[in-house]
Amino acid sequence: MNAAAKRPLIRLDGIGKTYPNGYRALSTVSLTIPAQPQFISLLGPSGCGKSTLLRIIAGLEKPSTGLIDWPTSDYDAIGNPMPTVGFVFQEPTLMPWASVFENVYLPFRIAKKPRKAVADTIMDALSMVNLQDFAQAYPRELSGGMKMRVSIARALATRPQVLLMDEPFAALDEITRHRLNDDLLTLWQSARTTVIFVTHSVYESVYLSDRIVTMAARPGRIVSDIAIDAPYPRGAAFRDTAAYHAACRQVSLSLAEIATPGDEP
């Protein structure tokens, strides 16, 4: 293996975020995301800064302290890394005036790629989420779960180095949520891209991830970094295995450790 292959995808070094009003969202967070694809969950209670951390990785917010490095990505003229990232928000975040196709076309449109040149790419992305027949539909005609699939297709269509997901299924009902969890794993298996998945559900994170980073609040910090060794593909049966229960217990304990009695509302 050469040296380049060993370089990580992302290196976060002492990342801190303090807002102008004095609120300290993150203290000093250091994390290395390796080059080989992982499914990483950022798990923690509300206020632990997991969404802030995700937005910092996406470049949507600047850290107050610390460095974020993308050793393998391209750099712009003044030396800033230009990673390609996909982002899925808690809401589908679709443009209601545009068709499903046009919504997925958006990142390409901004990059000035002609519609014709990327039509196949877009249709492939829609096929991955089983929405190839809905390309000409409008968001209002779709269910909540379908809208979320469009959002995922849009994030994956550009073949990003990392897919960032900010509690994407939190607003959905449990049945839809379970189905989307399975679909997401299938997608992840075929796309072979790193996923960083923010959630506050222990069960969801254990089911999905091969690595769980637990976080604590006030100030936001990383508590533990737990590997979930169960092999993929994981079906619903995985939820009945001893390995699943053991992992859930381990993750819950790591969260309980940091929760002092006065912490819960």
């Binding site: 982002f87 443009m95 209601p96 958006l106 901004i110 990059a111």
Partner: protein
């Protein structure tokens, strides 16, 4: 059957009202210079058509021009104000002053200053129609979903790209709501200005016909003109609502509501 009744009900009710009016006036012996019966108004409408038609065209022309100019200038000013807080702080108070000053109060001044009747009426109508367009469009340009803004930033969209593909479409429902309000107000502005000009003896559109008929106690022509003004108002409302439904047909039903 139920649907049919529901569709016909408003029309039938209107017909019943007209009938009651006709019968009431005839049986009650109300003189026609106080309240003419609908049949007489209908007759006048046809008999005086050579006077009424040009007046209708004139008033509608002023209203439509005022609405069109408001639509264009309103959006332009909203874009300027939405692009910088500083501009908004400077310009918004001026727009508010124009809005809160009653058009009846400014109309005499404008009619004195501007020699051309059509132009002076147009300015009055524009003054009242302008503000709702500006206010709504500005609100719309600011009411962009924050996550969509993040998404555009994530993909490195330029200011221009964000404006064309995100902010303008997001503002559309607000802008159209502003246009619907402005349509009604433009007609009111035109009519009010015609009244002011008409009392000074300047010949113009439908409101002038009303003023003139009032002086001559020709009540049925007055009602005929009044009827045409209502008709123009309904027409403007129908057109702007239709435009809204057409442009927002893919959005949520709530956004496209008239």
């Amino acid at each position: 059957m139920r649907r049919l009744v529901e569709t016909l009900a408003p029309g039938l009710f209107l017909l019943a009202l007209l009938l009651a009016w006709e019968v009431g006036v005839r049986l009650g012996g109300v003189p026609s210079f106080i309240l003419p019966p609908p049949s007489m108004i209908g007759h006048t409408l046809m008999a005086d058509w050579p006077i009424l038609w040009p007046a209708l065209v004139f008033t509608c022309g002023v209203t439509a021009c005022a609405l069109l100019i408001s639509a264009v200038l309103g959006l332009a000013l909203a874009l300027v104000m939405a692009s910088s807080r500083w501009m908004e702080r400077m310009l918004y108070p001026v727009a508010v002053v124009l809005q809160v000053t009653p058009v009846v109060a400014i109309a005499p001044l404008i009619i004195i200053w501007v020699q051309d009747t059509r132009l002076s009426l147009l300015i009055c109508a524009w003054l009242v129609a302008f503000f709702p367009v500006v206010a709504n469009a500005t609100a719309g340009l600011r009411a962009v979903e924050p996550n969509l803004v993040s998404l555009f930033a994530l993909y490195g969209a330029s200011r221009w790209q964000s404006l064309i593909w995100l902010r303008l479409p997001s503002a559309l429902p607000y802008y159209l709501a502003g246009l619907r309000i402005a349509g009604g107000l433009a007609l009111i502005g035109a009519v009010v200005a015609e009244f002011v000009a008409g009392t000074g003896g300047t010949r113009s559109g439908l409101a002038f016909v009303i003023v003139e008929s009032g002086y001559r106690l020709e009540m049925s022509r007055m009602f005929a003109a009044l009827f045409l003004i209502s008709l123009a108002g309904i027409l403007i409302h129908a057109l702007t609502s239709r435009l809204t439904r057409l442009l927002l047909r893919h959005w949520h039903d709530t956004a496209a509501g008239s």
